[in-house]
Structure formats: C-alpha cells, structure tokens
C-alpha cells in the first residue's frame, strides 16, 4: 500500500504538474475570461513572474496550486449546482505567492493584484495563509485556494494528514499548526461531501485519492 503513494506522487509530478500540462489546461480558461472581465491571461501572469524574478520553486508551486484548485472547482461545479469563478481561481492560484520573497506575502500579494486592477483576486490571495471557515459555510474560491495550497507541498501532492504529521515532526505540537490544519480539514470535508466522486475522470483520480487521504496517514513515510 504505502509503495503505491510514492509511485503516484512520482507520476503526478511528471504528468499532472508539468509546466506544459498546467499551461495547456489554464491557457484557454484564462484567455476566454480575460475578454470579459478584469483578469490577466496566463501569458501576462508568466510575464509578471519573469519581471518579479520569482524563484523557480515558487513558480512551480503556484502552477500546481492553480491546477489543483481549478480541478477541485470543476469537480464541484460538475457534481452540484454550485457556481464558482474558475478563471479567477486559476489566476488567484497562480498569483497567490507572487510576493513570496517578501514578508507578509499574503497581504502584499493582495495589494499587488489590486494595483493591477484584478480586484476579484484580492480576497483569496489575502486569506490564503489565514482563513476563517466554519462548518456548514458555503464553499467559495478562497476556501478552495486555501485547501489547494495545503495539499501542494512545493509542486508535490500530499494529503493533509501526512503534511500535518510532517509539520509536527519538524516544529513540535504547536497550537497554531493544529488550527491552520483544522480549517483545511473543515474545508476538505465540505468539498468531499459536495463531490460525486463517480464524476471524476480516471486521469484525475490521483488528485482525489490524495485529497481524501485514501491510502492512510503516514503511509508513504514508512514505505
């Protein structure tokens, strides 16, 4: 069992999060939306990355988060009547760490997109490190981005359980860590409940299985 997770991770890094796959997936979504509302195209975002001289690791993480967030949002909109702004989520995912090299990067990131006139992106970027989300609250773009950010460690997919265990291993039993993860767990429960997993295409099952921690906590570390 644990072996499988490792294999899965490897393939996901290769196939799902390849720069090429992300660009192929997100280019049309953003291109269509940018014609109608104040959103950047994917190319414009890549130019921002280049001009900000963002480290490669941040770029690949942002791409992974945007990709996962968009996938989750698509599952949700396909499974229910929920309305989500998928293009905004794509752009927000790509730009959420745009000020990563500075302190207080979430707030600065929100300010940055406001300056560019992309107002719809500001709330989700501002709250991606700290979000209040209570059980029963309706799911929105901010919540999905929050969750996607947590299950992407760098550009590798990881379950919340596994990531929590790693954090505790590294920093000890801190209340702030537990609290941060609790928000993520609450969002995940809402997401999992709302999605009809039979709707998920086979190719995307890997993301789903990591999201629901199908292979169990701590699985891969012991393998």
């Amino acid at each position: 069992m644990p072996q499988q997770v490792k294999v899965l991770k490897a393939t996901q890094e290769l196939d799902i999060f390849s720069e090429q796959a992300v660009i192929t997936k997100l280019t049309p979504i953003l291109l269509q939306a940018a014609e109608k509302k104040a959103l950047p195209t994917l190319t414009e975002i890549l130019v921002i990355f280049a001009k900000k001289q963002l480290p490669k690791a941040v770029i690949s993480h942002s791409m992974a988060v945007a990709y996962v967030a968009v996938r989750i949002a698509e599952w949700l909109t396909e499974s229910s009547s929920m309305k989500l702004d998928i293009p905004a989520l794509a752009a927000g995912g790509l730009l959420h760490d745009v000020e990563k090299i500075n302190s207080d990067h979430a707030a600065r990131g929100a300010d940055f997109v406001v300056q560019l006139g992309y107002f719809s992106l500001a709330p989700m970027i501002a709250t991606h490190m700290e979000l209040v989300f209570l059980q029963g609250q309706p799911l929105g773009e901010a919540a999905i981005l929050y969750l996607a950010d947590k299950i992407c460690k760098g550009s590798t997919l990881i379950s919340l359980e596994q990531r929590l265990a790693k954090s505790i291993q590294a920093y000890g039993e801190l209340f702030s860590i537990r609290e941060k993860f609790n928000t993520a767990f609450v969002i995940r429960d809402s997401v999992v409940q709302a999605i009809d997993d039979r709707q998920i295409p086979l190719a995307e099952k890997g993301i789903w299985e990591i999201l629901i921690n199908k292979n169990g906590i701590l699985g891969s570390e012991n393998g």
């Binding site: 720069e19 660009i23 890549l46």
Partner: protein, 751 residues
C-alpha cells in the same frame, strides 16, 4: 509513336478530393504531443549595427524552452541558394526589415510572442540604400562588402553600334517594372522534431534536398542526420525556394528535443519572403524598313534587395531572353543585379522574363508601327525557327515557330471581338510572345527517381520533385504507368522526402515534367527491360515484339492473357528484383563570362497571348475582356493540368499587369496584407481561352517540355499593347493602374 493510354489523358490528381473538401493537412494543421510554438524576433529597421542583444529576461519567462541567437548556430551562420550571404540569425549587421535576430520556442504562441518583447535590443542605425540605380554609385552605403553590384551578366554578339548608326528604324524606351509578391495561399510554415538522433523537418517548400543541405551546414551535422520532408504545400511560385522556417525549426528542435511548430502570419510572410525583381530597363531596338530586326541594346538594372537569394539567376535569364522569340543578329545586353536595403528579390514564376517581355513586346509594336506593318506581321517576320541563332549563339532545334501559337490565339480573339458599349470606353487588342528555356540556365540541374514495381502490379515511385500544387506527382505517375503498361492508379508516388527520395532539384524553372519526367522514364525503362527480357525468354519471342499496355502483355501487337502483374510476380518469384532508378541532367553549356555565349537550355517552350482590353477613359480603369493563351508544351501529359497552369499563370500575369505592386518606403513594405496588396479575385478574371499546341520535343518524356512559368510571362506585355491600341498612348511602367492611364491620357491631351 504508338497510341498512348495514360499519358495525354486528363486523369484526376490523387490529392484533389481532399483539397476541395478542406481535408488536406498543411504544416499549420499538424499537431504533435508536447509541441512547442516558435516565434522569430525580427528587425524593424533596414540598416543597423547590433550593439546589444540580451535575451536573459525572455529565457526566464516560464513556459519558454529556448531563446536562440546567432551564437547558438553551431555551424555556418549563413544560407542562400547561390551565395551564403544571408545569416540564419543576425550577429552584427542588419541589412533589411525582417532580418531575424532571435528565436523563441515556448508552450504557447502567446508566451513565445511575450518572450520576444522581453528581448532587449540596442541598435546603431546607419543610412541605407533603397534605390538600385543609386546603389550602383561608388559613394552609396554598402549592403555587403565594398560594392553593391552583385553580378553583371553580359550577352554580346555582332556589332551593335555599327547597326544603330545606319538602321532605318530605331526605337528607344525606358521601362520600369514593380516588385511582385507571390501571394501563395499558404504562408510559410513547418514543424520539426527529433527521431532518435535525426532532425526531421516537415515544411512547406519547393526543394527539400536544398533545404537539407542548408540545415546540415548550419547545424554542423551530416546531411544523413537531417530528414527534410515536404508537407503539403499551398503554392510556391518561386517564393518557397528560399529558406524560411526550415533552419529555425531544426535549431529549436535540436535544442529543446521537443516538436516545434512555426507558422508565419501573412504579414511576416510578405515582409520576409523573396519577391520578383523590380527592374529599370533601357531598351533600344534597330530594324530595317521592312521591320526585320537588326540589333537590340539593353541595359537592365534589377534590385535584388538585401540578400542574393536566387538573385543573379533570374537576371541572367532576363538577359538570355531579352531579345524575345525573335532572330536578332546583333545584341548587347547588360543586366545588373544590385544589392539594396530593400526586401530580398529572388525567384518568381517567370524568373526575370515577364519584366523583359513587357519591354521587348512593346518595342515590337512600336517598330511595327514605324515599318507600317501589323503587330502580327512583325512577329511572324522575325520569329526564331529551326536553325536560327539565339542571342547566346545557340542553334534552335525546333519544328515550328512563334506563329504556331500566335496565329491561333490571334484568330480566337478576333473571332470573338466584342462591340463597344459606351463612347468613353475604348477597346484594344494586344499581343505578347515568348520562348522560355526549360531548366536552370547553363547549369547542371539533374533530378533522380527510384521505382519499386511490386508483384501485385502496383508500384512505388520515389522522386525528389516537390509537388507544390503544380501536379508533378500526377504527371510523373502517368509517365511511369505509361511506360510499364500499368494504370495511373497503380503508381503511388512519394515525393520530396530526403529520407526516401533521391534529389530532384527545385520545383522551379518549369523543369520537373521535363527533367524528373525523364528520370522517371529512365527508371521505368530499366524495369520494363527486366520484364520484357523475362517474357521474351519465356515465350521464345524477340524483345522488340513485346509491348506492355493496359495492364497486359502484347506480343506482335496482339494482347495476350498474361497480365503485367503476373509477369512481375514471375520475376520476383525467380528472385529477379523489379526495381529501377534513373536520373537526368539536360545537356547545356555554361554561358561565357564575357560574351554570354553558350547553350543555356536543352529545350525551349513557345507561347503567345493575345488580350482584348476595355479602358474606361473617365476613370482610367483597365479591364481585360478576354485573353487567348496558346502554349506549345511539346506533349500535354495531362491536358487538364496544362489548362490549369495556363489559366493560373495568365491570371497571375493579369495581376502583374494591372494591380499588383509591393510598395516600399525606406525598405519598409507598405502593402503587407491582402487589404493593401491587390491580387485578382474571381471578379477580375477575364475569359481565358487556353490553346494547347503540341510539337513534341525529341528529348522530352513522350515529347513533353515544360509549362509552369510561360503563362505568366506575356499577359502584362499583351495588356500594355492592347491598352496602347485602345487609347493611343503608351505606358512604360507596371502595373497599369488607373492613375497611370489617366495621367498618360492627360499628357497626350486626350482628356
């Protein structure tokens, strides 16, 4: 000759259905997994030194996989059909607008375009030269080296000066012709990818084997490591003889190890592709009082732009054909090819001859007028015929003369001569005649063919000749089928793929029917000999008694029940391979450097166009009402194709005569779209009467000669003569726009 069963029939080309249904997959339609998109950073100034070229920001743009500059060209940083004077990417000096500075390959076209914007360029602009006559000045800015004169072709025979002193009639004029764009439907495009250690490039091209040699030299790889395949090509007309996307794509594929696609926009295509040379021609003709030509004195200057491309070759062809299809005992022709900072001029259908025909044919009409004879009479009186000497001293070995095409064309138009409609509209009839050498001028230009004939009676013909829409695949299959006694549909042709086919040379110079046709015929003859020997031994008859026809073996002209397929299978069964190969190189003699004397071509095609035009004297608008086009093609291998070539070339010639002009200001093309560059549409097309004349050439496959270019040579000349007859004023500059017509009428005091 025995009756033919495949050659001479209008079989339907195999690619016709897909093309009319829009199913043909051109380069731009090809998609491959993991494919990257390429863009080229191009100069927007005409003449400058590159001071700085910083691609670091562009390279850092996510989604960008390669940004290449001149220093990334591993081999020679230069290409060109005759001289390698055009850099793949500019390292030091820009010589024209559109020069390539850097290449980008990225995940999407949009990202690639953005990357171009992130490249920092610093230039030091220097004065350019934009007029060919000025460029010949010693003090003019130099484009390459220390002279802008790239080539001078002289053709000298007899004593011209003496004749002009004593001649009864002398006509002297200056003619100006414009730059013309090929305007093929499909802009330049291609895709490249790695197949193990082989760089495969698939692109729209007229000459894969040339492309392969260029790519290999630039990439510093053996030619065997480059496989150049011609993608279905939406027209070329000479404009796809030069390198466009090929080297760029090969470099990017080799660098990224991923498939890379590059498709030019129409604007990029018009800005970067070669053009028809604009020329200034001073033309002086002497004749005796009966209208018999005595001498021509021609001084032509052709603007070849920033790079040589085919440059000197069309200008040489212009010089060789400068006297037209007429006997002229004394000639002095000087034809200059001159560098400027204008767009490059190179090969275009007609290769210099439409320019000079515009001059020599108007001269003929003016001479006729002075001699008091008709335009028809003066042409018949001076025609080249068997035994005549051409300007280059070649003895003509022909059956007929220009009358064989001119008379039927003239009769056709006269029989349909229409009535005038309104008093301000004037009609006139004019003619244009030509002869046209088939193949490259005084140069070796061979083509090869491989043929594999299989036991089921089908065959695979492999030829280097690129079918760019002109139909060579069909023609060559007909030739092979005829010789082997098979059906057209039994022959499958693979063409223009350096991994499979032998070199066929360029699809240019109206040469493929004649040269690749002869190569194909030789390959087929080898297989036929194997088959005939086998049946002769088997049936105890002499090989001469055997014929292969309609898929059956004939003995003493009687059909047997032995199928050709059965005979092939018999050979194969005995271990006798039924394969053949052939190559053909026309016999020519190079032109003497000083006198231009020699035997430039093995065979010539003849043609005449007669046009009837209607001129609106209020607006200056010229409309071609009807144009009869008679062409001696030797043998029409496929009459439908011949008609298509004649119609297409004639219409292109009408565009050249009336509408088309690349306008340039300081090296900048002001007409880079079909909104500003006007080509004839279906509304502008006159009635075209195609007349096929067949005077078999002994040296051609089944008597065939060549046809691709001749139809474009004469229309502009015929229209100019017709306009002159209609309104009584001569216009010596192309195209014949309403503005020029009105101005000429005003100057002559006719309005």
């Amino acid at each position: 000759m025995a009756e033919l069963s495949v050659v001479g029939k209008s079989v339907i080309r195999n690619d016709a259905l897909d093309k009319v249904l829009g199913k043909t997959r051109y380069s731009a339609d090809i998609k491959m997994p993991n494919m990257l998109h390429a863009k080229v950073l191009r100069s927007t100034v005409a003449h400058a030194f590159v001071k700085k070229l910083d691609v670091s920001q562009a390279a850092a743009l996510p989604g960008v996989h390669a940004v290449l500059t001149a220093k990334d060209v591993p081999g020679l940083n230069g290409h060109g059909i005759i001289f390698k004077d055009e850099p793949v990417l500019i390292s030091d000096k820009i010589r024209k607008i559109g020069d390539g500075l850097a290449l980008v390959a990225a995940e999407t076209e949009d990202i690639a375009q953005q990357a171009l914007k992130l490249i920092e360029v610093e230039l030091e602009e220097i004065p350019g030269v934009f007029d060919a006559i000025q460029a010949m000045d010693q003090d003019a800015p130099k484009v390459h080296g220390d002279s802008n004169i790239l080539a001078l072709r002289k053709i000298l025979r007899g004593n011209v000066d003496e004749v002009f002193e004593t001649a009864d009639i002398v006509v002297e004029n200056e003619y100006v012709t414009q730059m013309q764009e090929h305007a093929y439907i499909e802009p330049e495009a291609g895709i490249a990818y790695m197949e193990d250690d082989i760089v495969v490039v698939k692109a729209s091209t007229q000459n894969t084997h040339f492309d392969c040699r260029e790519i290999a030299r630039n990439l510093a790889l053996p030619q065997s490591r480059i496989r150049m395949i011609q993608a279905p090509t939406g027209g070329g007309f000479g404009g796809k003889l030069d390198i466009s996307v090929q080297i760029y794509l090969a470099l990017l594929a080799l660098n990224t190890r991923r498939p890379v696609k590059l498709v030019y926009s129409r604007e990029e295509s018009i800005i970067t592709s070669s053009k028809r040379h604009p020329c200034v021609i001073k033309y002086k003709t002497a004749a005796d009082k009966t209208g018999k030509l005595l001498a021509v004195d021609v001084h032509a200057v052709a603007d070849t732009g920033a790079y040589s491309s085919y440059g000197p070759a069309p200008v040489t062809r212009l010089a060789v054909h400068a006297a037209g299809p007429y006997e002229v005992p004394n000639v002095r022709i000087y034809a200059y090819t001159v560098y400027t900072n204008n767009p490059t001029a190179g090969a275009m259908r007609g290769f210099g001859v439409p320019q000079i025909a515009f001059a020599y044919e108007q001269q003929m009409d003016m001479l006729a007028e002075k001699a008091g004879i008709s335009p028809l009479e003066i042409r018949l009186r001076n025609t080249l015929k068997n035994g005549s000497l051409t300007s280059t001293g070649q003895v003509m070995d022909v059956k007929g003369n220009i009358g064989d095409t001119l008379v039927p064309a003239y009769e056709k138009v006269m029989a349909n001569k229409s009535q005038l409609l309104a008093p301000y509209k004037k009609r006139g009839i004019g003619m244009g005649c030509l002869y046209y050498g088939i193949g490259n001028t005084g140069q070796p230009n061979p083509a090869g063919a491989f043929l594999d004939v299989m036991e089921d009676g089908s065959a695979h013909l492999m030829v280097g000749a690129a079918d760019i829409g002109q139909g060579s695949n069909t023609i060559l299959a007909q030739i092979a089928a005829e010789e082997l006694g098979l059906d057209f549909n039994d022959i499958k042709v693979t063409s223009a793929d350096t991994g499979v086919t032998p070199d066929g040379g360029a699809s240019s110079a109206s040469r493929q029917t004649y040269i690749s046709g002869n190569a194909t015929l030789k390959a087929a003859k080898i297989v036929k000999e194997i088959l005939v020997n086998e049946i002769a031994a088997w049936q105890r008859v002499l090989p001469e008694a055997i014929a292969l026809k309609n898929k059956y073996v004939f003995i003493h002209s009687k059909q047997t029940d032995i199928a050709v397929a059965q005979l092939i299978a018999r050979c194969r069964g005995k271990g006798i391979m039924t394969i053949g190969h052939g190559w053909y190189n026309p016999t020519t003699e190079p032109l003497d450097d000083e006198t231009g004397q020699g035997k430039p071509y093995e065979v010539y095609s003849f043609a005449s166009h007669v046009a009837e035009v209607e001129v609106d004297t209020q607006t200056g608008q010229v409309e071609v009402v009807r144009i009869a086009a008679a062409h001696d093609v030797g043998k029409a291998v496929n009459p439908l194709h011949v008609e298509g070539q004649i119609e297409g070339g004639t219409i292109m010639g009408v565009g050249y005569g009336l509408y088309e002009e690349i306008k340039i200001a300081n090296g900048n093309i002001r007409t880079p779209s079909f909104a500003t560059y006007i080509i004839p549409t279906s509304m502008d097309i006159p009635i075209v009467d195609t007349i096929i004349v067949e005077e078999n050439a002994n040296t051609g496959p089944f008597g065939a000669k060549g046809l691709g270019e001749p139809p474009l040579v004469a229309p502009a000349a015929a229209i100019a003569n017709a306009v002159s007859q209609a309104i009584g004023v001569r216009i010596n500059s192309l195209p014949l726009t309403p503005e020029k017509v009105l101005k000429a009428l005003q100057e002559a005091g006719r309005i």
